[in-house]
């Protein structure tokens, strides 16, 4: 059993929860850090001189898009590992990462659209990065569609690994699109330069948002992995029951 897998119930009642001591600590850390982030984002930091109140959206938008890229890279890495080793662990972890990437990218697109309404006067503009990010979203929706099709675990794993790797190839295009195409999108504020354009409590809040959303992503990732792992065990048991049933029918 892997470190991420579900702990069996000591009382022998089978698996009753996807939680463990580690995930409970992670969950508590997520709740506390999210509360601190809310306090800083809406209470302590002041509006930005240029962006005004809309800078508060950045405390959701920037970490979610960054974590999306990270989850997509994890998904592709799991895909490569799966194709080399046929590891169920990599397959299910990749699935969990892909699903969370779609969730976080959804958050990021919605928060970006809200920011765009304030800054550009429209929820959506046909800007290069927005468009390619929407394309990336569709690519991972396609990944989830491939995962959802009923198939043998190995076949499903191979197909989804290839789709995940191909989708990840587009990440550099999306990331560099601001430089390659003339773009309306806000230039990268934090990592685009060695001298960040924001500072003080704003910079602290932005950096802390990575911690809070990072905890959230890790917590959701572990639970999603465990649910997928349990679903696989359940499918195996159903198959075993079905075979046993057929055998008993043949013998009687």
């Amino acid at each position: 059993m892997t470190d991420l897998a579900v702990e069996p119930d000591p009382a022998g009642r089978g698996v009753t929860s996807t939680a463990s001591r580690g995930t409970r600590i992670l969950g508590a850390a997520t709740i506390v850090s999210m509360a601190v982030l809310l306090l800083y984002a809406f209470g302590i930091t002041s509006p930005d001189a240029q962006l005004g109140e809309s800078i508060r959206i950045m405390y959701v938008h920037v970490p979610t898009i960054s974590l999306t890229y990270l989850l997509m890279v994890l998904n592709a890495a799991c895909g490569v590992f799966y194709l080399r080793r046929r590891s169920e662990f990599a397959d299910l972890l990749g699935h969990a990462a892909g699903e969370l990437a779609v969730l976080f990218l959804g958050f990021s697109i919605v928060s970006g659209a809200l920011w765009g309404r304030i800054t550009w006067g429209a929820y959506w503009v046909w800007d290069a990065r927005l468009t390619t990010t929407a394309v990336l979203f569709l690519l991972y929706v396609g990944y989830l569609a491939v995962r959802a099709v009923q198939a043998e675990p190995q076949v499903r794993g191979t197909r989804s690994a290839i789709v995940g790797i191909a989708a990840a190839l587009l990440i550099p295009i999306v990331h560099k699109s601001v430089d390659w195409w003339s773009s309306l999108h806000q230039q990268r504020t934090l990592f685009g330069t060695l001298d960040p354009e924001i500072g003080g409590t704003q910079l602290f809040t932005l950096l802390f948002s990575f911690v809070a959303f990072g905890f959230l992503a890790a917590w959701l990732l572990v639970h999603r992995f465990r649910v997928a792992w349990l679903a696989e065990r359940m499918a195996e048991r159903e198959l075993e029951f079905a075979i046993a049933e057929r055998r008993s029918e043949a013998q009687s």
């Binding site: 390619t132 394309v135 198939a151 794993g157 197909r159 290839i162 191909a166 295009i173």
Partner: protein, 229 residues
């Protein structure tokens, strides 16, 4: 090494020849896909006022959108016939290298797409009153974009053909993947035809990078794809 490359090239030609002979005999591409392209060309004419000049200005985008739709049909057709009569199993047992088979599929798709593009170019001149300028850039863009579309199609085609929902899955998987190709090829065509100012060659270069990415991906993953699907 060089004999291995020659071998893969020979295998690719063998597979491409087989696919193109199948198409020449069945005439599905000629009887279904080319008339579909013609229908789309006419529909764009009805949808966009041909007298206002919009149609001519929009031609680069319309050209590549139509090619993309045709590519989905061609890829679907190309891999659907592999599923019949155990052709995919026969290919797996043939001893041909997966990379050779993949490159053969790409080559056959490139030839079929070039026929579609030739028809589209003729339609653009006749129906949309487009004057072809910047021939070198147009040719380079067409070559690299076609290679990119065919490479991505040859990766996603067998993947989708194995799914129970193959008819709806392929467009969902392939169209977003080809969005960067559409964007770059459209921009390069706009520059070549003089619709917008700027340098068109970086766009053609970008298409080359995308084509190289998908070609490499296909060569690497075609083996596992054949085994499992």
């Amino acid at each position: 090494m060089s004999s291995s490359v020659r071998g893969i090239g020979g295998e690719a030609l063998l597979i491409a020849g087989k696919d193109l002979r199948l198409e020449a005999r069945s005439r599905v591409a000629a009887n279904h896909v080319l008339p579909f392209v013609l229908a789309v060309v006419l529909l764009f004419g009805f949808a966009l006022d041909p007298d206002s000049g919009i149609l001519r200005r929009a031609t680069p985008g319309l050209f590549w959108v139509t090619v993309l739709f045709a590519a989905v049909l061609l890829v679907q057709r190309n891999f659907a016939i592999e599923r019949q009569n155990g052709v995919s199993d026969a290919l797996r047992l043939s001893g041909l290298r997966p990379a050779g088979i993949f490159l053969g599929k790409v080559l056959s798709l490139v030839v079929q797409l070039l026929v579609v593009e030739l028809l589209m170019a003729g339609c653009a001149v006749v129906f949309y009153d487009v004057r072809l300028r910047g021939p070198l850039l147009l040719l380079a863009t067409t070559a690299t974009a076609t290679l990119a579309i065919a490479s991505a199609g040859a990766v996603y085609g067998p993947l989708a053909s194995g799914l129970q929902v193959r008819d709806t899955a392929l467009p969902l998987l392939l169209v977003p993947v080809l969005a960067p190709v559409l964007l770059c090829a459209t921009r390069a065509f706009q520059i070549a035809l003089g619709e917008i100012a700027g340098g068109g060659w970086p766009w053609a270069g970008m298409l080359g990078i995308v084509a190289a990415l998908y070609l490499t991906l296909g060569v690497v993953v075609w083996g596992p794809l054949m085994e499992e699907t």
